[in-house]
């Protein structure tokens, strides 16, 4: 089982170095994947408490939108993506300062609406009478789903391969899909209406990379924010939302 590890392991900037002294200030603009909306809102609040001089502005979008924005010169400081390949594309274009580091992982889950009890295992994805969904093969959550099906040796009869996980969640919530492959965090965020069916194979884990941008207008504060995301306080917030450690 390989996870799409970000081309991380960059040597620079150990997480804890020199964070306490030098006061940083100004604004940090963080571009973050839409699936991070809740956690990053909370992390930003916590960071602002820790660094009163810094004002964090969050801009959420689909990972590909964010990547295009960065490539076209968006005046952002930090990018937190849900897609390692896109992050790599930016690194190859020298748009990142010091490379990307993984800060969270997210496992795949077999989600069903709580009132659906017909689905008990991945095997049920071979049934033609159910409405089943997953992400498209071109996006990470779809690649992970395909790996999951391969591992379980399931020939999935999908009714939709959504371009992003949001569409799968929407369809599950509306009861249109009887089951879908989504992230664990999606189930956690909608615990009142979705539940996860336990899987008998080990699930693949997505990795979320974060990086300071090469053209960051405020690199010192940006570094500080990235460090904070990799730190303990942020870890607790991520844990609570269902994100695994990197």
């Amino acid at each position: 089982v390989l996870s799409f590890g970000c081309s991380s392991d960059d040597s620079s900037t150990p997480a804890t170095e020199g964070s306490s002294d030098a006061r940083v200030s100004g604004e940090v603009v963080v571009f973050a994947a839409a699936s991070l909306t809740d956690v990053f809102t909370d992390i930003a609040t916590a960071f602002e408490r820790a660094e009163p001089g810094v004002d964090v502005s969050l801009s959420f979008g689909g990972s590909s939108s964010l990547a295009v924005s960065v490539e076209e010169g968006a005046p952002a400081d930090v990018l937190a993506s849900a897609n390692n390949e896109l992050m790599q594309r930016l690194a190859d274009a020298d748009l990142l300062a010091g490379g990307a580091r993984p800060f969270a992982t997210n496992a795949m889950a077999l989600a069903v609406p709580i009132d659906v009890d017909e689905v008990t295992s991945l095997r049920d994805f071979e049934r033609g009478d159910l409405f089943l969904g997953a992400c498209a093969a071109q996006v990470p959550c779809g690649q992970y789903a395909d790996e999951l099906f391969a591992d379980a040796d399931v020939d999935a009869q999908l009714d939709t391969r959504a371009p992003d996980v949001r569409a799968v969640v929407t369809l599950l919530l509306a009861g249109e899909l009887d089951a879908g492959i989504v992230y664990t965090t999606d189930v956690a965020a909608n615990a009142d209406r979705l539940r996860a069916v336990p899987l008998d194979v080990e699930t693949v884990a997505a990795s979320y990379p974060i990086a300071v941008l090469a053209e960051s207008p405020n690199p010192s504060a940006a570094d500080r924010f990235v460090d904070f995301v990799l730190g303990d306080e942020a870890r607790a917030i991520l844990d609570e939302a269902g994100f695994g450690a990197p």
Partner: protein
Amino acid sequence: MTRSSTRPPALLAVLGAVGALLFVLPLVGLLEATPWSKLADLLSDDVVIDALRLSLITSVAATALATLFGVPLAWLLSRTRFRGRSMLQAIVTLPMVLPPVVGGAALLFALGRRGLVGEALDDTTGFVLPFSIWGVILANTFVAMPFLVITVEGALSNIDQRYEGVAAGLGASRLTVFRRVTLPMIAPSLRAGMVLAWARAFGEFGATVTFAGNLQGRTQTLPLAVFVSLDANRDAAIAMSLLMVTVSVVVLVVLRGRWWSGRST
């Protein structure tokens, strides 16, 4: 009356040229970003062929449905008085205002398998709209119809209604008046509305992905294919976008030559 030899006033020419730039510049940008050498390869992919076929079918079908239901709706809105009329006139713009993804969700609430009407439909006939080409067509119709309704309604309010009176005096029933006088009189606006509706349906993405899903060959239209490729294969996404623009320009230029040559004075 044509006054061909006179120049347009400078103010209009300048403003109009700036307006035109707003459309031309992004197109040039797109052309610049296009991977010309790989273009043929990228576009001969099965995925592209399937998506193009589906897009053409569903956008045309949606235009037809939007016309079939939208023209009578526009007529009711402009020619009859009933309670809630101006409310309905405003509600018609709903699909334009609603973010498409929410529009798709609203469609699910109404016509999905568990929706208000969709559930009854499923129970009685076993027919399920989402995840099928019918779902794509419905989503396209939903987003495209406002353009048709609003354009046609405006035209209906503009024409000289005395002609309808004359036709009635000649013994034509209201339906005949509508068919043989009203419709021909608004023909140019109807065509414009249909073009708008078609273009909107052809480019529709958000409602479709939510309501109908995204399965190659079944529900994956070109915009969905573009979106899916954006992450992993940007060149393919740009190539397909260019294909969409080309198809649309060709369709519109051909239509204009054929259809719109008749419009005059």
